[in-house]
Amino acid sequence: MSSRFEFLGSTSLGQFIPRDSWFHARDPRARLISFFIVFTALIFTPGKWGLLLGIFFVIGLYSLAQLPVKSTLRGIKKALPFILILAILQILFYQRSDNASPLLEVFGFVITNAAVDSALNLIFRFLVLILLLNAFVMSLSTSQLTAALFHLLKPFEKIGLPVNDLTMVVQVTMRYLPLIAQNAEKTAKAQAARGADWEQKGFNPIKQAKRVIPLIVPLIVTSLKRAETMAVAMESRGFNAAHKRSSFHSLRYTWQDGLLILVSFLLSSLMLFSGAIF
């Protein structure tokens, strides 16, 4: 039985799975760019052919990076009700053109072929996005992510972008989220130990919300306090944004990384222009 106080377990952090695969061996910058390109293409691809290509890409990625499918499917199961609701809304409120042929009529709602089509597209798009997002979390560690961001943004320092500060913000956030989860756990336990009703009996969203509200203020206060101590600790270890910083990770870019980006780029272009091609 898992405890109702284990907030740490419900954060999707630290899901990085180190593997000895070709994909994992690629430069984090190349992986980040590839994910970025494919994400964009998935969001903007017009029709089912593009999505189909996206599915091929995701399947290829999972097998290439040796990622487990099971935990991802669990994630999909949680999201499924929401996606279905969205799909139904999409069907019911689909903007109809006048010459569309009605498929059937329910309670005064006219349902068209095009509406069903677009709902299916929506479901597919979300599923592929979830698969890709999970692949992203599992194959790029937070440290690789910050290192990649740092090096990718570095050229923009010249035009006055505070790259040090930005990557530091990402890094500290990553460090902070589990701390906040732990803090929430402590405060919730302290409240429960003094009589606050933290027991989950049945489904009662109002009661649930009522329980969370008294957590929020103390959580913000303790987080700010911790942030203050952390700022002092950072200062005492020589962090001073005005100065130049270097990076622990030395990244090496090879032709194979270029290949990864090229493949992602070609695939994404196909997805985006699939409407015109097929």
Binding site: R175, K186, A196, F239, F248
Partner: protein, 574 residues
């Protein structure tokens, strides 16, 4: 020759700050040589940490001057060089970890020096090896043990190769074995030439230094070699401090007429000079007082619990723990960090429910998920470790009244008043104070009152004395006795046996998620092997009694749990 650190007439007051309050630091003068090891002691809130923060320029003096290696710490342009010279390890090590993996955290300070990646990697791996953290290099810091986090914090500082390291009570969160290892490391650094400033509440740690500086109310009260300082017992008592246990005991033995030399400050030194018994009396091992057939109030059998069960981060915390606690006793629960003490306590008040096993508390079947948590809480109080970090109200009165409000009790005002009186806080003076304006000791009292106000039959305390100065610690022990007199059953978890030995009737030892033994305090404390196997240290008083018995003294069981009892018993035979 100029000294490495030179402090002249330093005073400090923060802004904004109430006019009527005196400066936090007042005209401090101190010269520290290169390679010195200085211990700084003083009561909670005496200004020790504020003082330390002036050495690396985290704070700038509002009066006087601080110079480190000729650098004026109040000048902004000196800060980068100053921070390279001076490293700092904080009280709560988790607060100074910045990155999301161990290796990157060590690298953080080096990235700030703008070193090339290759050199950073070399230095990081050198420190990982020295700190014995190689296997943890890629783990997130929040999943390390307390000892590991403290080693990581030190590694992050050492990687920058400072000349001076400031420590702010670095051992207060560590269990005895980890603490000894950490102190050992510090002594080695000192021998290698590092200059060390070390704040501590433990006089046994202060002895290790070349020089002790005593701070009280923002001033240097005393300073000198450990021997000089600890010869001033009376003065130290005046400001709420104490001399090392071994020194205290030596004095008691001297008063008894034994010839104990001066300058006995460590356990080893004292044990070596204890005298032989010359009399006739024989030592008879008595059976410890038994047979009080009290009701069993807490009954746990084969309790299992796993944190984050089913995830890759799953951690087994309890693996078949058994515990019985009789009504009306004070029972100690000892074990190293990570042995499962806190998890066990949280099973007694129903915050956690076992994945397997039996938990009965009074008439409650806590293992049954249908047993209401609120009903259990009405009967079982739990004060968490560092409870002052879990406040959620703004004012003292509201914080303490939280519990009774949840249960819609009547006469809340009177209840708050009684609870505050019990812990020694004046109701009129404190009820309207904002929590953040309180000192650490006062906050701890508020936290105690906010649990005691529910007047539960069973009270659980998790490391209640951690980070307390000797005076506050004694007040707390007296409070426990008073609660027992009122008929409460009390369970105190701690990684130290000596602090609660005097007031407990029974002791339970835990190791790796299991209860190793529960016994009458007398019996258990003399089981050196058992104690050491569990990673704990044998209290000094017990070591003394054992040595005295070896030397022929006929000391009986009931006479040895406090120095006063022991001395009284021995008076008869001298």
């Amino acid at each position: 020759m100029t000294n490495l650190i030179s402090i002249k007439n330093l005073s400090f007051r923060p802004t904004p700050y109430p006019v009527e309050k005196p400066d936090i630091l007042q005209s401090i003068n101190l010269e520290i040589e290169d390679g010195a090891f200085i211990a700084i002691i003083g009561r909670n809130g005496s200004g020790k940490t504020t003082f330390l923060k002036h050495i690396n320029g985290l704070l700038a003096p509002t009066g006087g001057k601080v110079e480190v290696a000729g650098l004026d710490t109040s000048k902004l342009e000196n800060l980068p060089e100053l921070r390279s010279l001076v490293g700092m390890v904080f009280q709560n090590p988790a607060d100074q970890i910045v990155a999301s993996t161990v290796e990157e955290d060590i690298a953080f300070g080096l990235e700030n020096l703008n070193l090339p990646s290759k050199e950073i990697q070399e230095r990081v791996y050198e420190q990982l090896e020295k700190a014995d953290l190689l296997d943890e290099a890629k783990r997130p810091p929040h999943l390390l043990s307390g000892g590991q986090v403290q080693r990581l914090a030190l590694a992050g500082v050492l990687a920058r190769q400072p000349k001076i390291i400031l420590f702010d009570e670095p051992t207060s969160m560590l269990d005895p074995l980890t603490r000894d290892a950490f102190l050992d490391r510090i002594c080695k650094l000192h021998r290698a030439g590092m200059t060390i400033l070390y704040i501590t509440h433990h006089m046994e740690e202060a002895i290790l230094a070349d020089k002790i500086v005593v701070i009280d109310q923002g001033r240097i009260f005393l300073s000198g070699e450990p021997e000089e300082i600890f010869n001033q017992e009376k003065l130290l008592h005046e400001i709420g401090l104490d001399i090392p246990e071994a020194a205290k005991y030596s004095q008691s033995f001297r008063d008894l007429g034994f010839s104990i030399p001066d300058n006995v400050y460590t356990s080893e030194a004292l044990l070596a000079v204890l005298p032989e018994y010359q009399g006739e009396k024989q030592y008879n091992k008595l059976k410890s007082p038994n047979g009080r057939s009290r009701k069993i109030l807490i009954d746990m059998e084969n309790v299992h619990y796993t944190y984050l069960a089913g995830s890759p981060l799953a951690k087994k915390a309890l693996q078949g723990a058994d515990l019985k606690v009789h009504q009306g006793v004070i029972q100690g629960l000892a074990g190293t960090n990570g042995s499962g003490k806190s998890t066990l306590l949280q099973h007694i008040n129903g915050i956690l429910r076992p994945s397997e096993g039996k938990v009965r508390v009074g008439s409650f079947a806590v293992d049954d998920p249908d047993t209401s948590l609120q009903e259990i809480v009405k009967n079982v109080g739990l004060v968490f470790q560092n409870p002052e970090t879990q406040f959620f109200e703004s004012f003292v009165g509201d914080e303490i009244a939280f519990g009774p409000k949840q249960f819609e009790m009547d006469n809340i005002r009177d209840r708050v008043k009684n609870a505050m009186t019990l812990v020694g806080l004046d109701f009129e003076e404190y009820k309207g104070r904002r929590l953040e304006t309180l000192s650490g000791g006062e906050k701890r009292k508020v936290a105690l009152a906010s649990t005691l106000i529910l007047d539960q039959e069973i009270l659980l305390f998790d490391e209640p004395t951690a980070g307390m100065d000797p005076k506050s610690r004694n007040e707390l022990l007296a409070l426990f006795k008073e609660l027992q007199r009122q008929g409460k059953t009390i369970l105190i978890a701690s990684h130290r046996l000596d602090e609660s030995a005097e007031i407990t009737q029974a002791f339970t030892i835990m190791k790796s998620g299991r209860v190793v033994r529960t016994e009458a305090t007398h019996d258990l404390l003399f089981n050196n092997q058992l104690i050491r196997d569990a990673g704990l240290s044998v209290p000094l008083i017990i070591q003394i009694v054992q040595r005295l018995r070896q030397n022929g003294w006929p000391i009986e069981e009931c006479e040895c749990l406090g120095i006063d009892h022991l001395i009284n018993a021995m008076k008869e035979w001298v």
